[in-house]
Symmetry: C2
Subunit: 279 residues, 2 copies
């Protein structure tokens, strides 16, 4: 796994952001150094990259060893261009030489039932989750493996923006849908490791508790506003409300504005028409 150019100075990771010592564990350091990469060089990837990432994906846990997912490997520039159009025109999809699409897959399991002379009767919301979680765990392993190989990655949930068109483009049969995409390539620029919410907002001891929510959100909001992360990326206020663009526009306001309306409303009907039982 050589890189065309020398790596930049060691990146910060989230343990350091929190003043924690990752105890010189290279795996923890790699995990905590993750930052999404949104600009790629066109350099081709080392031979065997796809297979290495696929083995990493397959090494994730899978419910009852069902392995209820598939990975569609997209490298053809014309197909990547179409995906770019279908995923909200994020240029990184054009730039990254490799785009992996992680697909929950019941088709293979239905085939196995037919092969053995049994009826597939497992369709349910839980089975949908089994396959979805399998695909997500596999995607995370592939992403981390790519980053450990010196590559940049970015997960693309916008692959669900136009689900019917993606099904057609990738010839996904009934029982298979596109959950997340993953851009992979040599970074043209390194993303910054973003702070996350204080652990007090995310970790709950024994039972769920809101006790620290106010404080944690206020703290994180100030941190993110001060970091200038939203400069030039402000979401318009919903419903045409006239709201002054306060200096305090931070994570809370950015997030709240994003959540004013539901998106991807056709996903359910597309999935139900495509072999998924969601009941």
């Amino acid at each position: 796994m050589t890189r065309p150019t020398a790596p930049p100075a060691r990146r910060r990771n989230r343990y350091e952001l929190l003043g924690l010592d990752p105890a010189a564990n290279p795996v923890l350091e790699a995990i905590a150094a993750h930052a999404s990469c949104r600009a790629y060089r066109p350099d081709p990837l080392p031979e065997g990259t796809v297979e290495r990432l696929a083995v990493a994906a397959q090494s994730a846990p899978t419910s009852s060893n069902l392995q209820a997912y598939s990975i569609v490997v997209v490298q053809d520039p014309a197909r990547k261009r179409r995906l770019y159009e279908l995923c909200g025109e994020q240029p990184m999809i054009l730039d990254a030489p490799l785009f992996l699409v992680f697909c929950p897959d019941l088709r293979r399991l239905e085939y196995v039932c037919r092969r053995q002379g049994h009826r597939f009767g497992a369709g349910s919301l839980d089975m949908f989750l089994v396959a979805t979680v399998d695909a997500a765990l596999a995607a995370q392993n592939a992403a981390l493996a790519a980053e450990a190989m010196g590559l940049g990655t970015c997960m693309v949930g916008a692959i669900r923006e136009r689900p019917r068109e993606v099904i057609d483009l990738l010839a996904l049969p009934p029982g298979v849908y596109a959950l997340v995409g993953l851009c992979v390539g040599y970074p043209a620029a390194r993303g910054e490791v973003k702070p996350r919410l204080p652990l007090s907002a995310v970790l709950h001891r024994e039972t769920y508790s809101d006790r620290h929510l106010d404080t944690a959100v206020a703290e994180y909001d100030r941190l993110m506003a001060a970091a200038g992360i939203y400069g030039g990326r402000q979401v318009p206020a919903p419903g045409g409300q006239v709201r002054p663009e306060q200096a305090s526009y931070g994570w809370a306001e950015h997030t709240a504005r994003r959540l004013a309306a539901a998106r991807r409303r056709e996903l359910r009907s597309v999935l139900e028409a495509h072999g998924w039982c969601l009941t």
Copy 2:
């Protein structure tokens, strides 16, 4: 990160199973060495373990930085015993000193909307997936981090077996549900690294293809049957069919029998009654 006893000889990993060279990359090696651990020693975990795992979890990508998940940390023996009962009585839940429950969480986002004076209008199947994928990616990072620290892990999808009771036990508010559990502890025995399906069944080039499905499933079926993995663990044939327990009982038959009937049928109604929009 010290371990009470010396680690066993280096474990095989999936790259080696496939005759691939992981190129001496410690992260790829750790990923590919994953095997679920189903027996734990009672030894307490090193101080700071929960925080280290939580930072790893938070380092996973999250859709639009929404961080739509929470982690409930269960260590109390009485609560672990109740979870053991609710998750199909898998003894590893009793044995592992730490049980993490990864919960997709819209409650925090609804709070943020209220805080900012906006309406939360984002409920949809896609939002359910956003939170579910966020939680799954976080869980995978935590699991890998634990294994890199010399601990064993096992993901527990059976946390969805009795969703209403788990909501009550963990005091999960509306908009929060338990997606997967994660046992963490020092292994009493190492699991074997299980072979996965041939890549030809899982990887698709440019578009989805069944071309290699027959061959790949037949090959994997033979491999798994020969490995003796199903000895003493055969699933009864569905519908009371009398079927001889062939020597060829392998992955295909085991899998097909598991998929004869839907499980966890109440999940949808529980989630819909608990603040989740699935349309």
